[in-house]
């Protein structure tokens, strides 16, 4: 079972460069999320998607873009990288909405992508 797969695991960027973090899930989940994690700050939601072709901004979307052309893939694009984007990025997915009653709505997380911008 692959689950949620993120690539690359590590990357160093120079200021102003661009890159794409890849996220793929093989569980046929409709809901997908991108979070960033900074020390002592918990996880902040960047973008999310409730299905193919539908995306929405989270709490900290500036400097990022996403697309959702298929159910499986949810890439995160960083344009003009800045030192403030140095972070660990997590992709997650769920079959049901994470809140509400009924089915668990458990989020399944990838193992993270550690990005450093110098």
């Amino acid at each position: 079972n692959a689950g949620v797969t993120q690539t690359p695991k590590f990357r160093i960027l120079k200021i102003g460069q661009s890159m794409t973090l890849q996220c793929t899930q093989d569980m046929n989940h409709n809901y997908m999320y991108w979070y960033r994690q900074d020390p002592g700050m918990g996880l902040k939601l960047i973008y999310y998607s409730v299905g193919a072709g539908i995306t929405d901004k989270g709490e900290v979307p500036n400097g990022y873009n996403v697309s959702r052309s298929t159910t499986e893939d949810f890439p995160l694009r960083l344009e003009l990288a800045a030192p403030s984007q140095t972070s660990v990025y997590f992709c997650a997915s769920s079959y049901f909405p994470p809140g509400g009653s009924g089915a668990s709505g458990e989020l399944f997380f990838g193992e993270g992508s550690r990005l450093t911008v110098l």
């Binding site: 949620v4 809901y31 999320y33 979070y35 002592g40 700050m41 918990g42 996880l43 902040k44 939601l45 999310y48 409730v50 989270g58 709490e59 997590f90 997650a92 909405p97 994470p98 809140g99 509400g100 009653s101 009924g102 668990s104 709505g105 458990e106 989020l107 399944f108 997380f109 990838g110 193992e111 993270g112």
Partner: protein, 113 residues
């Protein structure tokens, strides 16, 4: 807007002693609340979820949490800590549409022999 506050950034216990990780929440609606755990250099894993069916929620690995509306709290407990419990724990609340989650800043649990 919803939020959660984890009252301790670090908690240290000895193996075999009880664990208490504290969380207070704020929301203007009936929220769903969660605890997630993150072991070093890993993704997060769901421990348990509260959705109003029962105020005492049992999770994996012997953890449980009690929802107290009057205190706006959702504290995580375990009767006896194990070395493998050492990790970072996140209290999490859903938004009013139940489609996104807001994470607390985390509590690092340290377990000594």
């Amino acid at each position: 807007a919803q939020s959660v506050t984890q009252l301790d950034s670090h908690v240290s216990v000895s193996e075999g002693t009880p664990v208490l990780l504290r969380c207070n929440y704020s929301s203007s609606y009936s929220p769903s609340l969660f605890w997630y755990v993150q072991h070093p250099n890993k993704g997060l894993q769901l421990l348990l979820k509260y959705t109003s069916a029962a105020t005492l929620v049992k999770g994996i690995n012997g953890f449980e949490a009690e929802f107290k509306k009057s205190e706006t709290s959702f504290h995580l407990t375990k009767p006896s800590a194990h070395m493998s419990d050492a990790a970072e724990y996140f209290c999490v609340v859903s938004d009013e549409r139940y489609s996104t989650l807001t994470f607390g800043k985390g509590t690092m649990l340290l377990v000594s022999p």
